[in-house]
């Protein structure tokens, strides 16, 4: 397996390098290499960011996929062989990589103003701009069920997910401490606003694990984002946590009877970062400015149900590319979905991830 991975990454790096050189040779301006998560998500970025950007500036974009674009950055920067200009990473990774000096700082004041004239620093949702990163979307971890499999009352709260008496059947959960501990506490009655306060104490961790204990025997653990819709479709689980966009795509483009429960959703950002020593820093910055403009962010929501990180993009969000699904209510940030939503605390996880992951792994094995 390791060999396959090594080969794959070698081929990938080689093709990126080749692609970059080719673009450099034939064009006046250097191509920008953008690394993202693949699948429907990369497609949404290609349609909303890459194509219009190339059209406008003539600068080519090389789109590269990774199962987590944060992974190669540390290795590339430490080896002094950076091939990626822009990477799309999760919040805690953006902060951590930035703190470890692996990213180029990004001056938020250089970003364009919103379409409604508001300053970029006011236009972005609080927390969407950091020293080294600019958020493009808001996504969320939610739980979903197959409505054709549940007769009678439908689940509506986080507590229902943990109630195997009322809603029998297996549960899908991501095999990680993150998200599960928070959801367990919310199901146990902790309001979203107090979750991290409670989780910071030993008693809080115990409480969360005790709640997870109640369904431990019924859990199917997943690791990759593509797994939960599959588990639901196979009838392998009655409910599963998942990334909201994956469930939306399965429901709308594949006509699966999947329903999302927004109660207790955990919001997170995806952010653009520039690895330290990126070969085309200037192009990378131009791309980020373009891609995180009001219009581009609104355009992206046409392709996947992740919310734009700018407030001014909200009113511009329209229909899905099938031409009939209204995207507004599908956004994690839609008012109706925000009733009991938790914003993922990167600071908490940057501090406690190592420790809580060990606790979680030990709990899994006990």
């Amino acid at each position: 397996m390791k060999l396959t991975k090594l080969l794959a990454s070698t081929v990938l790096t080689a093709s990126v390098a080749l692609g970059a050189t080719a673009a450099f040779a034939d064009g006046h301006s250097k191509a920008v290499t953008v690394m993202s998560w693949g699948g429907a998500y990369t497609k949404s970025q290609v349609e909303a960011y890459h194509k219009p950007f190339t059209e406008k500036t003539g600068i080519k974009i090389n789109s590269v996929d990774s199962d987590n674009p944060a992974k190669p950055i540390k290795a590339q920067v430490e080896a002094g062989n950076v091939t990626v200009d822009v990477a799309d990473v999760e919040y805690s990774d953006a902060v951590r990589l930035c703190d470890e000096g692996l990213l180029e700082p990004i001056d938020a004041s250089a970003l364009p103003d919103g379409a409604d004239g508001s300053k970029a620093t006011d236009d972005f949702i609080p927390g969407a701009l950091t020293d080294c990163a600019v958020a493009n979307i808001v996504w969320s971890t939610v739980y979903a069920y197959d409505s054709s499999k549940i007769s009678g009352d439908k689940p509506t709260t986080m507590a229902d997910f943990f109630d195997t008496k009322k809603f029998p059947g297996k549960r899908g959960l991501r095999k990680s401490a993150k998200a599960n501990l928070e959801m367990a506490l919310m199901a146990d009655g902790v309001p979203a606003a107090e979750v991290y306060e409670v989780l910071a104490t030993e008693a809080g961790v115990e409480r969360a694990l005790a709640k997870l204990d109640t369904i431990k025997a019924d859990v199917v653990w997943w690791e990759a984002g593509a797994q939960p819709p599959q588990l639901l479709a196979d009838g392998e689980v009655a409910m599963t946590t998942a990334y909201n966009g994956r469930i939306f795509n399965a429901a709308v483009t594949e006509n699966k009877p999947f329903e999302i429960v927004w109660d207790g959703q955990i919001l997170d950002f995806d952010l653009f970062v520039i690895p330290k020593g990126a070969p085309n820093k200037e192009g990378a910055m131009d791309f980020i400015k373009f891609a995180t403009s009001t219009e581009a962010l609104a355009e992206q929501a046409k392709w996947i149900s992740y919310g734009p990180a700018r407030k001014s993009s909200g009113p511009l969000v329209g229909l899905f590319n099938d031409g009939k699904t209204e995207m507004g209510p599908q956004m994690p940030t839609a008012a109706a979905n925000m009733g009991n939503a938790l914003v993922n605390s990167f600071e908490f996880w940057a501090d406690r991830d190592a420790e809580l992951s060990e606790r979680f792994n030990a709990w899994l094995n006990s």
């Binding site: 470890e100 859990v219 199917v220 600071e347 501090d351």
Partner: protein
Amino acid sequence: MADTTAADNSQYKAAALAALAPQTGKGPLTTADGTPLKAALGKAQRQARIRAFILVAPLLAFILITFIAPIGSMLFRSVNNDSFSANAPALSQWFDQNPGIVGVPEDEAAWAALAADLRIAKKERTAGQMGTRINYDLPGSRSLFTKTGRRADKLEAPFKEAFEKVDKRWVDPDLWGVMRRGSSPNTASFYYSAVDLTQQPDGSVVAVDEKRAVYKDIFVRTLILSALIAGLCFLLGFPVAHMLATVPTRYANLLLILVLLPFWTSLLVRTTSWIVLLQSQGVVNDALDALGFFTLMQKLALFDPMQQAGIIGSTGRLEMMFNQAGTIIAMVHILLPFMILPLFSVMKTIPPSYVRAARSLGASQPRAFWKVYFPQTIPGIGAGLLLVFILAVGYYITPALVGGAKGTLISNLIAFHIEKSFNWSLAAALSAILLVIVLIMYWLYDRIIGIDNMKLG
């Protein structure tokens, strides 16, 4: 090996020739141009050796650069982590100069040094690196460094009070104990972590809280599961290999392709196929249900005991996926060719006349098999077992996909620390321990069976 032997032989020949020379009575033998034969021979051999080395050099360089050097640098990381000491030079120097001071220092110079380091860290954006190293030993302290780092320019003398005002945790004696240890890049603490031990701030080594202990259990599980998988591969592979070796060649070739076909199929495809087959709503369970297996079990009053034993899950189906059973089934299937192929190649060379001779001398069929046939297959068995075991110990993607809670192996945790927690030093320490275990297995194998007996094909 062969090259050295050949070279040695020719040296003997040269020596023999030289020894012969005086006996002929005509002085030392010379070549046509008058140089002594011995020198000419030596020169020719030297040239041959250099030519051979030049031919091997590209491969050697390739292995050195792509294999030995990365492994070496990873192993070095397991005992060396300078992310604190390199980013806090002034404080590290203070620690060196004041070896006796334990706990929170009263010496203002220490606090001034820390403030100076943090100021540089702010400029260089390295406060996170400093904090991350300390966070390994004292969870929660990473944010202390990033938070204070952001305000480093505002810190003014008296520094101790200034730090205390930013955050009370700065006067925690444990923090200073951990920082003192971090001030030296050389550390054994990652090896302690890798075997569920921890170093107290006072320097003593104790077991971690059992709620956090995880690595030792998973090491043991990895070894047990790998041994089990190797054993199962042997039990399943031996008859197959025997059949391959004994049926007529045209059938054997066809059967061999059947063995190799899955071998050439993508690992991911095979793993996910097993999920489709064995999950609780999968093909096998559906078939069993349609055949009335579960009703039969209920009639025989076996259903409830099976459910209690965890063989049948809460959905009333057999639990064969997302647990240890899933890991074992999928890995046995994937690794089976590594057992069958060495066995087959050894069995192919065993003349059938030996067993026939034993039979004709009056041995029963089982006796002929045990006494004559089986011992000759041991080199193949040894090679297969060792190969499957070593591959299984490092297996990664299959247990990650089908292992569920209790089917994960140590390589999954190594991957976790490389990719998610970025704690490369701990990942390196875990890998080093795994490497040592594999070397010990290899050594044991050599002692018990003998590595020269191994036949890979």
